[in-house]
């Protein structure tokens, strides 16, 4: 079972997505801020990270840059799941190292598809 790290500061969002991802067959781990995201990712090494950009303590862009800078986490695919919709902000995500940017709200079916596209072929 693939492990997905879900990073979002809103509990309601986390709860919902976690439930749905679990019933879709994924293992889900959670983080509520940028710092937690980096530490959990480093220790748990998920197969993919869904990262909200507006986060307390450390924002999503910074967290992404840090993860890219670490050898152990550099290759984990990161999908930005953000409510920031302006072009400059989207560019910011890519430049920080995200593999893809999805603007909220995202339909769950669509999300599953996107995850499928970015997950590594083997279960590493």
């Amino acid at each position: 079972m693939k492990k997905i790290l879900l990073v979002d500061d809103l509990e309601a969002s986390r709860k919902l997505l976690a439930t749905r991802l679990k019933s879709a067959g994924f293992e889900v781990i959670l983080a509520g801020d940028g710092a937690e995201a980096v530490s959990v990712a480093t220790t748990q090494l998920p197969a993919l990270i869904l990262m909200d950009m507006r986060l307390p303590v450390k924002d999503g862009w910074t967290a992404t840059r840090e993860l890219r800078a670490q050898e152990t986490t550099a290759d984990i695919p990161i999908v930005a799941l953000t409510a920031y919709d302006s072009i400059p902000q989207q560019r910011q995500c890519i430049e920080a190292g995200c593999n893809a940017v999805e603007i909220k709200p995202v339909r769950f079916k669509q999300l599953v598809e996107i995850i499928g596209r970015h997950l590594p072929a083997n279960g590493s």
Partner: protein, 532 residues
């Protein structure tokens, strides 16, 4: 909302522009909250948690939308602020986050309810889903940027129905020159709103409470329906195409038939001005779009109750008016009209010296002895037969009947301004009275005789007595007229010299001679025979 249009928040956003955005966002957001609350009441406990999350998110959404006003203020006061994401960006972010949660939970619930075949809940969830999409459309169209006034006006000139509507509503507000429960029984409610969701929501609440709800989609239809049918109360949206709610309200208040119908204004414009103006225009209540169903119920009941009280008051006032008229009529039966007017005006004592009047006494000869032979009813019938006709004659000639005592009848001419030639009028009256008695005698086995006496002179007239009061006359002239009668001859009308001199050119007289008048001495008298 059709076609892609850019709504630009400039560094100094236009008031109407902001109001438009608020309106466009608030309408669906409010409805999402409302549908969710209804679902919470109607759905099985399995869904309560998730519905609760939707409700929470929609409330946060509404808060963000309210913050638009602050956004406008802050941008106006610090247009050059480039520190961090600007206000518009933050706003869109917050809107998206909340909508994301709502859409997510709705999606999840839709999956589950489809499986369970819960059609009703499914339907409402679909509605919420569509509303969320609607909101994303609006959010997508809000772009931030710095533009010139030219660009700004260009956008404002683009045909944007809601903007026009809101601006028009605001303009109507400025230009208007206008000076200003659980219910016991179901009401006929006219609901006027151009938005289908709003109508649907309100309708359901109202029907649940047992009211009969009728719909109008715009102001024109509403006015037509109001004119053709009867409604207890109107729920009126302010922002509508063609004719807005203010205009409907003004129209209603100026139409006599519609004026009394209570009106509850509903709108998402939350400026205090608009509330005040609505009340000044004559609205009975004001409800914000994000209403609490309990508040709707309470305000509806309050307005209906007010109307019922008003109706009852009108009814009572009408009753009072009828009674007052009745009292006046009774009084004018007893007293001359002019005297009643004087009493109404506050005169406490009615006592007049009248220089020149003509007094007529008429007595039915032998009536006393006559009445002893008849039953009470027959006596009254006989007297009424004659006196009622006398009364009509007196009224015809504009004279005053003073009273009748037993079988004696007293009339006076010259008390009111209506008849300056009172002597002639009395003369004509006496002749008619003579003819009446003669005529009536034909119908009876026992004919009646009369004696009449007439004199012209000065008298005192006034209202005497407190209970069973009358308007009466006193004085020498009255006594003389009385003597003319009592010392007269059956079947004859005896007039004094004074009256004779006034009438000798028009009427025919027979000189009777001189008679001794008790207390007066010798007087020359004449019999009135007829006109020349």
């Amino acid at each position: 909302m059709s076609g892609p249009r850019e709504i630009q928040i400039k560094t100094v956003p236009d008031r109407a522009l902001l109001a438009t955005i608020q309106h466009e966002l608030r309408t669906p957001a409010t409805n999402i909250a409302a549908y969710t609350k209804m679902l919470l009441e109607e759905s099985p406990p399995a869904y309560t948690n998730d519905l609760g999350e939707i409700l929470k998110a929609s409330n946060i959404l509404l808060d963000s939308i309210s913050d638009l006003v602050q956004l406008g203020e802050s941008l106006r006061s610090a247009p050059d602020c480039t520190d961090g994401p600007d206000g518009a960006t933050r706003l869109r972010h917050d809107l998206r986050s909340s909508i994301d949660i709502i859409a997510g939970y709705v999606d999840f619930l839709l999956e589950r309810t489809e499986a369970q075949n819960d059609k009703k809940i499914h339907g409402d969830l679909l509605r919420i889903s569509r509303l969320a999409e609607e909101m994303i459309d609006v959010v997508n169209r809000i772009t931030s940027g710095i533009g010139s006034d030219e660009q700004k006006s260009e956008y404002l000139n683009q045909i944007h129905p809601d903007l026009t509507l809101v601006t028009r509503a605001l303009r109507t507000l400025q230009n208007l020159d206008v000076t200003p429960v659980r219910p016991e029984s179901p009401a006929r409610v006219l609901l006027v709103d151009d938005n289908e969701q709003n109508r649907d929501l309100m309708c359901r609440h109202l029907r649940r409470d047992g009211h009969h709800v009728y719909i109008a989609e715009n102001g024109r239809d509403a006015l037509q329906m109001l004119r053709e049918d009867y409604f207890d109360i109107v729920l009126l949206d302010i922002i509508m195409p063609e004719i807005n709610g203010y205009e409907v309200l003004v129209e209603m208040r100026s139409d006599k038939r519609l004026r009394q119908i209570p009106v509850i204004m509903i709108s998402s414009i939350e400026e205090i001005d608009s509330v005040v103006r609505c009340i000044e225009l004559g609205a009975d209540e004001y409800l914000p779009k994000s209403f609490n169903p309990a508040m709707l119920r309470a305000r509806l009941a309050a307005s209906l109750e007010k109307k019922r009280l008003r109706d009852r008051e009108q009814h009572y006032l009408e009753q009072i008016r009828i009674e007052r008229e009745r009292s006046e009529r009774l009084l004018t039966d007893i007293l001359p009209y002019a005297i009643v007017e004087r009493l109404k005006n506050g005169e406490k004592i009615i006592a007049d010296d009248v220089k020149s009047v003509t007094v007529l006494f008429c007595d039915l000869v032998g009536f006393t002895e006559f009445s002893s032979r008849l039953s009470a009813i027959e006596v009254v019938r006989r007297l009424n037969e004659i006196f009622l006709r006398f009364d009509s004659l007196v009224e015809n000639y504009g004279l005053e009947k003073i009273k009748s005592i037993g079988d004696a009848y007293l009339a006076v001419g010259g008390l009111t301004a209506t008849n300056p030639d009172h002597a002639a009028a009395i003369a004509r009256l006496s002749l008619d009275m003579r003819d009446t008695v003669v005529e009536l005698n034909k119908f009876h086995v026992d004919p009646l005789q009369f004696r009449m006496g007439i004199h012209t002179g000065s008298i005192v007239a006034g209202v005497i007595g407190r209970k069973r009061f009358t308007y009466d006359v006193w004085g020498d002239a009255v006594n003389i007229a009385s003597r003319m009668e009592s010392q007269g001859v059956p079947g004859k009308i005896q007039v004094s010299e004074a009256t004779y001199h006034l009438l000798k050119d028009v009427y025919e007289f027979e000189h009777r001679g001189s008679i001794e008048i008790k207390g007066k001495g010798e007087m020359s008298t004449y019999f009135l025979l007829g006109t020349r």
